[in-house]
């Protein structure tokens, strides 16, 4: 199925979650709308539930009250993909047989079974976003679209951002840029701040850890910098130990972004494991499960390189 038929014909967007009071997703206090589907497969991904475009089942073993007390899902599953483990009497999912039909979700009384992703209209999303309008006015905040890769739903995003603008709400997106240029352009038209990921400078290393090289991503970013000189771009790198925490990588990103005055900052996002448990919810294996955390010293060293490149005074103790 081509991307255009997969996403553009939808009058609604496939939303994963709407998170209020975010302070790291653009200027001020923001409401971040996470959209489903991603075209990359970063091994450190902290939002694995956002990857696949369709709604998908998740299961939280802790919340299951077991077959004796309940067992409703066992009767509901048409694929016989739910079974009981004797040791604790609770159910498990055979993820290979599960087709994500979602029939088990409404019968689960404890929300041990849950469906990631649901369709929403522009008005439905904005009704929730506007609840915090007062905070946006006070802090200079607004709405941020994130994901997954929000630009994979270009028509919905463009409509949502345009309507947000019409209602006086500041707009931002978080993107990794691996989409056709036309998708990207369409979404950027009504975006004030573009938070964009430079995960790895080297195309081969990018392919190794992210799944595809970064040639089109860089071409999109470069074209965006030049096409939208009045928009604010903030480059970001999720810093993963042993993957992209080397000076060469950071300097490679700086060399790419510094010629453009509308790229006003380059931020480092230290690796965290918040998403690790969700792999278990989805029956998937976290590729970096035994990776160490990022040493604070590494982050300080890399940050100093960025500060120097942006001409900021570095304070050292």
């Amino acid at each position: 199925m081509s991307l255009s038929t997969q996403y553009e014909s939808k009058p609604t967007g496939r939303v994963l979650n709407i998170q209020h009071f975010c302070t790291n997703d653009g200027p001020g206090i923001r409401t971040t709308v996470f959209l489903k589907a991603c075209s990359l497969r970063c091994k450190w991904c902290c939002n694995p539930e956002s990857i696949h475009p369709k709604p998908e089942l998740a299961f939280d073993l802790k919340k299951c009250i077991g077959e004796k007390e309940c067992g409703l899902c066992l009767k509901e599953c048409p694929e016989s993909a739910i079974y009981v483990v004797d040791t604790d009497g609770k159910v498990r999912i055979n993820w290979d047989l599960c087709t994500n039909c979602g029939k088990c979700v409404p019968v689960c009384p404890t929300e041990a079974l849950y469906e990631f992703g649901h369709d929403m209209t522009v008005d439905e999303v904005l009704a929730e976003v506007e609840q915090d309008a007062a905070f946006y006015r006070e802090s200079g905040g607004g709405i941020t679209l994130s994901g997954g890769e929000c630009t994979l739903q270009p028509e919905f995003c463009a409509a949502l951002l345009a309507e947000a603008h019409r209602r006086g709400i500041n707009t931002a997106i978080e993107t990794a840029g691996n989409v056709p240029w036309e998708f990207f352009r369409q979404v950027l038209e009504n975006t004030d701040t573009v938070l964009h990921d430079h995960k790895l400078s080297d195309p081969e290393r990018h392919k190794q850890w992210v799944g595809v090289d970064n040639v089109r991503i860089r071409a999109n970013f470069q074209r965006a910098y030049e096409t939208f000189p009045d928009k604010t771009f903030i480059a970001r790198t999720p810093v993963i130990p042993g993957v992209n925490d080397d000076e060469e990588n950071i300097r490679g990103v700086l060399a790419f972004i510094r010629p453009y005055k509308n790229v006003i900052d380059y931020q480092l996002l230290p690796y965290h494991r918040y998403g690790e448990g969700k792999y278990g919810f989805l029956g998937r294996v976290y590729a970096l499960k035994d990776f160490p955390s990022l040493p604070a010293e590494t982050l300080r060293r890399l940050q100093a390189i960025i500060d120097e490149a942006f001409g900021r005074k570095v304070i050292t103790n």
Partner: protein, 391 residues
Amino acid sequence: MNPCVKRIAINIGSGYLPGLDLVVAGAALAADGLGWEIVGIRDGYDGLLYPERYPEGGMVTLRPGIAEAAGRGGSLIGTAARTDPFRVRTTNAENQIEEIDHSDDVLEALRKAGVEAMISLVGGSAVTGLHALSVAFKLHRKRLCTVCVPKSVENEIASVQMAFGYNSVLSHTAETLERIRTGAQDVGRLAVVEVPGQYAGWLALQSGMAALADAVLLPEIPYDIVKVANALAARWGEGRPPALVVVAEGARPAASTAVAGPDAGGLRASLTPNADPEFGEGEHVIDRTGAMANSVALALQRLTGRDVLPFSLGHLVRGGVPTAVDRQLGLAYGAGAVRALQSGEDGVLITLQPPDLKSIPLGESLNRIRTIPAQSELIQIARALGIAFGD
């Protein structure tokens, strides 16, 4: 191809265990005896899915001579790791990565190669369950004539008394535990060793018994850490210092004794981790190597006031050479799978039921886990040996 000659294929549908090539060799010997051709599919299903990666072909013809070198390491035809023909990760023309069902391509490639039936070695994993068995089951549902051979680290495959590879893993684990126990005993410390076993504690129990463990914590018997500490303290009191606690990775505390942690809020909260101040690293972690050993060791150190050393064997138990039991079992399972095909069987799993090899429908092992009954004789014998379970 001579129309009288039957052509079959064999693959290793899941991960590595010592002596996998013995199963392949057993099948090759039995096929040769029938005058059949047998080919090995490289790296699970990759030989069919990515033929371009294999200049010498994604399928290799197996001759009976391979048996002479079998059992000395390696799997001969490679293992599948996490390849799944129903969810093949691909990059499309628009540079988007997506997971596509290529199972029909697998079936078509087999048909073109003249393969009439498939033998698949299947096993499980703590996170994904009996993934390889499920894949074989789904291919069988698509009318691929299939016979499966069980292989497992944890020996948890339902209706299978002894999966291939378990005996080697058990021997290797017991030997390693013995080394740790004697070392710890000599310096007056207590070692807490985590071994594989997410749902079933066979490996923890049997290796713990073999290595004279002082306590064994199993998924089947929820433990009270205070009772474990008391049992160990009694040993110190008797002048027989304890040295070894074996913990299955899926061991769990009894509900009434579980240390209350912050309520992470489960699935909804997992969507917004930073929004919930109570949500922290580790709360949802279920699959980090050594997590059980660390938490049990910490608790026992607090309760006993003694130095406690956590260890995790993890992948180490998959190494080494196959035992004599697994050598004969592997060859037998391979040959038994060919004999099952010869008998016209389809959609079955070969299982050892001494002194016979039997066939059971794949569905009998799907969605079931073979666990240790808490009141079984094996548990009672372990208690008689002085092993504490913390219950």
